[in-house]
Symmetry: C2
Subunit: 186 residues, 2 copies
């Protein structure tokens, strides 16, 4: 039956539309397996979506962490983030993690807990990145690092979410560049 294939099918479906709009029945049909098979493997819908999220994290989200921990300096890292959010083809239909976070209350407890974990890890990564910029003397104004990190994360999330709703990528790049310009003010 191949659990990996099922995960891939589910991830693609969740990612392309929205976890709340894809039923277990639909996933079984798309994967060509029966419902009991899926339930024997993943236990519940919550178990499946949690496994999907884990797979998505190591397959896609890891790259954002790579960018943030790359140590390329403030300006270079920001342009990398802008490129990723506004132009990477994988974000063309949005980010599965942000879709899950936006519909957190509709998720099962396991998946929701994992979403919160990842959210905290992302926030920590943004904080570490900005703290490094601060230490390197690249930090502009009196904004706290935590607030800046949250702001940065939410702007990236907004940009990617707009990708999912079909907004023109060039327009998105323009807006995200504007939003992040507060970090590189003269």
């Amino acid at each position: 039956m191949n659990a990996e294939k099922v995960l891939d099918v589910a991830m693609t479906a969740y990612w392309q539309s929205d976890p709340a709009d894809v039923s277990v029945n639909a996933i079984c049909q798309m994967a060509g397996i029966s419902k009991p098979s899926l339930y024997r493997e993943f236990g519940s819908e919550d178990g499946l979506s949690r496994a999907v999220l884990d797979r998505y994290a190591e397959l896609v989200l890891s790259e954002i962490f790579v960018v943030l921990h790359g140590g390329q300096g403030l300006r270079r890292t920001l342009t990398d983030l802008i490129d990723f959010a506004s132009a990477d083809p994988r974000m063309e239909t949005g980010c599965l993690f942000y879709k899950m976070r936006a519909g957190k209350h509709r998720l099962g407890p396991e998946t929701r807990a994992r979403v919160e974990e990842i959210d905290a890890a992302a926030q920590a990564a943004y904080v570490a990145f900005l703290q490094a910029a601060l230490d390197a003397g690249e930090w502009p104004d009196g904004l706290s690092v935590e607030a800046g990190a949250k702001y940065l994360g939410e702007q990236v999330a907004l940009a990617i979410t707009q990708r999912a709703s079909g907004e023109d990528p060039e327009r998105i790049r323009e807006m995200l560049t504007l939003a992040l310009s507060v970090f590189t003010r003269p």
Copy 2:
């Protein structure tokens, strides 16, 4: 049976949680009426949510338009927007319009069309506001008015959406102020 009371109940329920998470059954129960009564009055779920959106627009959204068309100048209008998004108690559980827009694909055709109408009207209002600022010589850099209007609208939407997810209002104000500071750069 009182259609206004039903609209109020439905608006409150949709607004407080999310239109996608409130069923027609639940609304009937909360309003103390039967389902056929509701369907006689509004025709369908789509008809109800459309009527609710109309009521919400004239009750709440109208105020944002008042702020935008107030002719108070760039800086003053921006701080008014920041106050409204980050501190107005009515936005404590978010904005019904933004919730509907975020889940557009789950709405019926009438309601969805109305959402798009309102979205276009809001965009036009932001454009008019920024165009007035441009004419008054208060416009900073080479950003196009349309892009600036979209940016402004999305930042306000982001701030209000964060209210709905329980974020600290002071933190939200800080971030929105930062985002809108690009309009008032020296």
